[in-house]
Amino acid sequence: MPGKTLDFVGATGRAALRFAGTVGEWGVLMQDTIRGLRAVRIWRHLVFEQMMRIGVASVPIALFIAAFTGIVLALQASYTFTGAVPVYLVGSLVGKTMIIELGPVLTGLALAGRVGASIAAELGTMRVTEQIDALETMAYDPAAYLVLPRVLAGAVMFPAVTLLASALGIVAGWLTAIQLLEMSTPEFVRGLETFFVPFDVVFSVIKSFSFGLTVTSLGCFFGFRTRGGAAGVGRAATSAVVASSMVILVFDAFWAAVLL
């Protein structure tokens, strides 16, 4: 019995150490990336391409998700608000929720799947086919050449995509409200206005900015530490998506606690 307890304690300790080690490795990569900022000549030309791939190419999926979220929010809000709660609150709920919560988080999660997985798979493939080693032998800093453009692009494009998604979500909610819920446009707009404060937009930007850093840096991190061929690439992509999704939700709670 004591032996088994010790085993359990030991396993817990080992898992914790491994986790701490992973976080530490991530920290080292981020440190290298920040140091890579100095090598402007290396990454300057790559940022736009990554913005295109991470941001622009993600707009359709983000908008798709946001549109349906807006529709569902409007329908469910009107279902929830019965009796004495005025119907214009549907507008408030759709607007507020899209801007400060669902816009950033759903976009973040969707892009964690799309962008995080693709970065991890791409860099993972480069790792197992020695392309990253090749970069190094050609005197390129992989952190500056591969990680930095992606992280910068994510930090800039996530907020942009999120703002567009939130806006479309609200529009979808509004169309739903006037088409299916027998609400009027002024009613909906009145609800939007009632609880809207400009800080919501700032909050959304801060959140999605952190999500962008999270998804891209974790994608790069898991891509970089890929081992073991095609299966390893698959594992890296999975780990990147799972880890970024979790960190996004943790950040979500963190920002809500710190900023609201």
């Binding site: 391409e49 009796g83 005025p86 567009l164 009027s184 009613e187 009145r190």
Partner: protein, 328 residues
């Protein structure tokens, strides 16, 4: 490469435009399509805001669009943007009143002839509709105690004119109106805070109160109906007829039953008191007479009771909503 730069620029600029312009748009929006605007004048508009609904016979037909105090400061001009294809009553007037417990007010277009006793603001321009703002809940609850007192006196007097059950229910309603109105006043003061206690109290007495309130509403509606018939005399007449019939009944009872002296005494005293009420009504004395003569008290009472009924129904259905309304 150049193409991608353009696309990136488009997405970033678009998002900034959406974020900035969206906020402004929220403030500037007005309904413009397929509507016509009518105006009404009020002596005051309570908590009516732009965008509040405008109803006709309970159906939303438009929005409040523009609230401004008249230059001379004696009235408030309210614009009502309503569907162009809705025909208003010839003697249209506008009532504004609370729509729900959340302080959101709505406007209702009514026919003036059906509300003869309301003190509409009279505009000099015939194109502008007369308006009346029904006292809001806080003011109603402030007078609820007084109304309750009046009701107590009334029921004391008419106790026997109604069935025993009616009297019992009225008494209940009065007790509860007294209690609830105090708490309602607190509710209105504190808006949402400390509602929990109220919810607890109300939940226990909810079913009784709402039944009683409904009954009282009916009763008062009857009073209202009588009043709108405008024949206080007929009440008095009816009372006399009833008294005569009671007397005949008493005679019948006396003939057919012996040993029911208690019943007879009861009937006798009823008749005595009923006849006194009739006399008081004729001479315009007594609280009931005051009540019947002062229609606004009756309207207000009815309005309070309706509000209470609505509130209590909602409390009963969704108590959680009143404990803490926090959506986010």
């Amino acid at each position: 490469m150049r193409r991608s730069e353009v696309w990136v620029g488009v997405v970033i600029l678009l998002s900034v435009v959406v974020a900035v312009a969206g906020s402004f748009w929220l403030r500037g929006y007005r309904l413009t399509r397929g509507t016509t605007t009518v105006e009404a004048l009020f002596s005051g508009v309570g908590q009516l805001t732009d965008g509040a609904s405008v109803k006709l016979r309970g159906v939303t037909i438009g929005r409040v669009n523009g609230i401004a105090v008249e230059p001379d400061g004696t009235a408030v001009r309210v614009g009502l943007a309503i569907n162009a294809d809705v025909r208003l009553p010839a003697d249209a007037a506008v009532l504004i009143a609370p729509e729900s417990m959340f302080g959101d007010w709505g406007a209702e277009i009514v026919s003036r002839s059906t509300n003869p006793r309301l003190d509409f603001f009279e505009p000099s321009d015939p194109a502008v509709l007369p308006g009346f703002s029904i006292p809001d809940l806080s003011r109603l609850t402030a007078t609820a105690d007084q109304i309750a007192d009046n009701l107590a006196t009334i029921t004391d007097r008419v106790e026997i004119a109604f069935t025993q059950e009616t009297a019992e229910n009225l008494r209940l309603v009065i007790e509860n109106v007294g209690g609830v109105s105090e708490q309602l006043a607190a509710l209105v003061d504190a808006q949402i805070g400390a509602v929990d206690d109220l919810v607890e109290n109300v939940r226990t007495s909810t079913s009784q109160v709402s039944e009683a309130a409904a009954l009282a509403t009916l009763t008062l509606a009857e009073v209202e109906r009588l009043l709108s018939g405008g024949v206080v005399d007929s009440i008095v007449g009816d009372t006399r007829v009833t008294a005569a019939e009671f007397r005949r009944l008493a005679t019948d009872l006396r003939e057919t039953t012996t040993g029911l002296s208690t019943t007879l005494q009861y009937a006798d005293s009823t008749l005595v008191r009923f006849e006194r009420i009739g006399r008081e009504l004729e001479t315009g004395e007594g609280t009931l007479a005051h009540l019947l003569a002062d229609s606004t008290v009756a309207v207000q009472t009815q309005s309070v009771l309706m509000q209470l009924t609505l509130l209590l129904e909602d409390f009963r259905e969704n108590p959680g909503r009143y404990v803490r309304l926090s959506i986010f």
